[in-house]
């Protein structure tokens, strides 16, 4: 049957509607596809992390190759002395490579904030501005699915900037090291590196989304993120210097992450005057506050407010 001025036939759908568990992935993939379509920002944002990754990868490769000559020289040594010397050399090599990867991770962290801010600031703010939330919440999805979908989107970009480079460099180190020794000897470090990178991405993802949910302008959300991030960093460092109290540094997110990093990888804490628990408490409280803001704001979006 056709309407008087309409020429296309309406077809019925005979398939089945199922309650699929991975609908947040569908939502995330939509957001990721939009990000991929903006080629120039993607190129500009990822070019420096990309260069860092490639350079670090080469340095790791060279580190192992440069020492291979020393291993050849050990061929004439007594077997027991040879084993001890090789062990010491390998341990030294692995330690140096670890330091290179730690340096890469530290250098990447601020680019990750920039990238996650760029891709994540508009995720909820734009939905609110265009009222796209009405399309989502008229479907059988929950607020949790919506938040998870958005979080996965922003975490994808964050992971592309930090988890992927760390994985690439760790893979290069494993392949270049004699008999996969980096993988077999330092698997704990690799695991901790990945976990730390994921923690960083998750924390900043939820922070970016919480700020995005408070406004209906992407630029405002982006500005808010950087104001919060860098003002607390500069402010807390300045107060710590002025008041000669290291405790002020607890007010800054990057300082708290640095404390976690130092503790996780047995680095010297540069004389910071607070313990790990305090940093974990601060990061936990910020995460809780962000989750509460997201929950409240998405409830408003759900009812079309």
């Amino acid at each position: 049957m056709k309407a008087t001025t309409h020429t296309e036939v309406y077809r019925r759908f005979d398939g089945e509607l199922r309650q699929r568990p991975l609908r947040s992935v569908t939502l995330a993939w939509s957001g990721i596809r939009i990000g991929f379509k903006k080629k120039l920002p993607m190129l500009l944002l990822f070019i420096i992390p990309g260069i860092f990754t490639i350079v670090t990868g080469f340095m790791v490769q060279l580190k192992f190759e440069a020492e291979s000559g020393a291993l050849t020289n050990m061929a004439g040594m007594e077997p027991s002395a040879q084993t001890i010397a090789m062990g010491a050399l390998l341990s030294n090599q692995l330690g140096q490579v670890e330091s290179l990867i730690f340096q890469l991770l530290t250098n990447m962290q601020f680019f990750v904030v920039l990238i996650m801010g760029w891709y994540g600031s508009g995720l909820i703010a734009e939905d609110r501005k265009l009222r796209a939330n009405l399309l989502y919440f008229a479907r059988p999805i929950s607020r949790f699915t919506y938040i998870t979908g958005k979080l996965l989107t922003v975490m994808f970009w964050g992971s592309a900037a930090v988890v992927v480079p760390v994985t690439i460099v760790c893979s290069v180190a494993s392949l270049a090291s004699p008999e996969w020794s980096f993988l077999t000897e330092r698997w704990g470090t690799i695991l901790k590196l990945e976990l730390y990178a994921l923690l960083w991405v998750f924390f900043h993802g939820i922070l970016v989304l919480a700020i995005s949910s408070l406004t209906d302008r992407r630029n405002r959300a982006l500005g808010g993120l950087f104001i919060l991030y860098f003002l607390t960093l500069a402010g807390s460092n300045a107060m710590a210097e002025l008041m000669s109290g290291q405790g002020w540094r607890l007010l800054s997110i990057p300082n708290n992450f640095q404390r976690v990093f130092d503790s996780l990888f047995d680095q010297s804490s540069n004389g910071v005057g607070w313990n790990l628990e305090a940093s974990l408490w601060i990061l936990g409280l910020v995460t809780y506050a962000c989750a509460a803001i997201l929950s409240r704001q998405t409830r408003k979006l759900e009812v079309g407010a």
Partner: protein, 338 residues
Amino acid sequence: MTSPAPEPPPGHAPDPALPAGQEPIVRLQGLHKSFGSVHALRGLDMELPPGPVGLLGPNGAGKTTLIGLLLGLLEPTKGTAMVAGLQPTNRAARIEIRKRVGYMPESDCLLPGMTAVEIVSALAKLTGLNRQDAITRAHEVLDYVELDEARYRALDGYSTGMKQRLKLAQALVHDPEFLLLDEPTNGLDPAGRRHMLSLVEDLGRNQKKNVLLCSHLLPDVERTCDNVVVLVKGQAILQGSIATLTAAESQRLRVEVEEGAALLQTALESAAYATTLSEDGALMVTLPAGVEDADALCGLAAKEGVHISSIDPVRSTLEEVFLKAVDESEKKPGATTA
């Protein structure tokens, strides 16, 4: 798990527009919704019959709140709302309702940067279709709304009419039994409006979809819907079938004469008939109280020597009915059921 349909309260009169034995698609009983001190809906009682129904009302009448309640996005302060036999009291029921309802929002809610196919298929997957079905179905509904090659273009270059049709397509993608269309002709030029109305008309009349068309454009509702509900200040001041509401009133007649219309008008007015002369020269006559038919009018015309060529009862337009109901509601609050 879905909640069972509650029994109608004592004294509740079913909508006369609903044929015996036919289940209403929406049943509201004493529905009340407040936001703090603001009462958005004030005890709505209505049963919407299957088929196309128009929801009319000025801004702030409570239409959006009603949509939120029907989708299970809001919880009523008091009373019950049932959609397709389901009451959105728990999450499972709300999800079941949203599977059966397609919603086309009024706002420009489409994310730029995506193509029509991407948007519709992604929303189909969110509704529960598998990947293959979602893509096939996206193309089917985009064919239906006649978004041809444009479906592969990013939304940024779409006209308002194309965006409206895309919003209709996303509402249809899971083939819902109940469509909530919020101002579908908003911002459209005459050709776009005609196209959109033909789609809505086809869905309601030919495809037998249950449609709730929210609009403030009365001709749109009159063209596409069989029934209408008028919402003012959170209350349904008028509901029923459009045919009944606009039925010819025996008290009003359109009289066409060959010559001497002015003479007849003077004679009728002196006999307590209210008359107006229309632009085409016909006399619009309202019979005085106690006069049942046109016999006396014919007698007066014969006495004046005026030859009447036709007498027809006058049908009200929906606009007249709407304005009359709004005026009455301002004077005396209370629902009118046709």
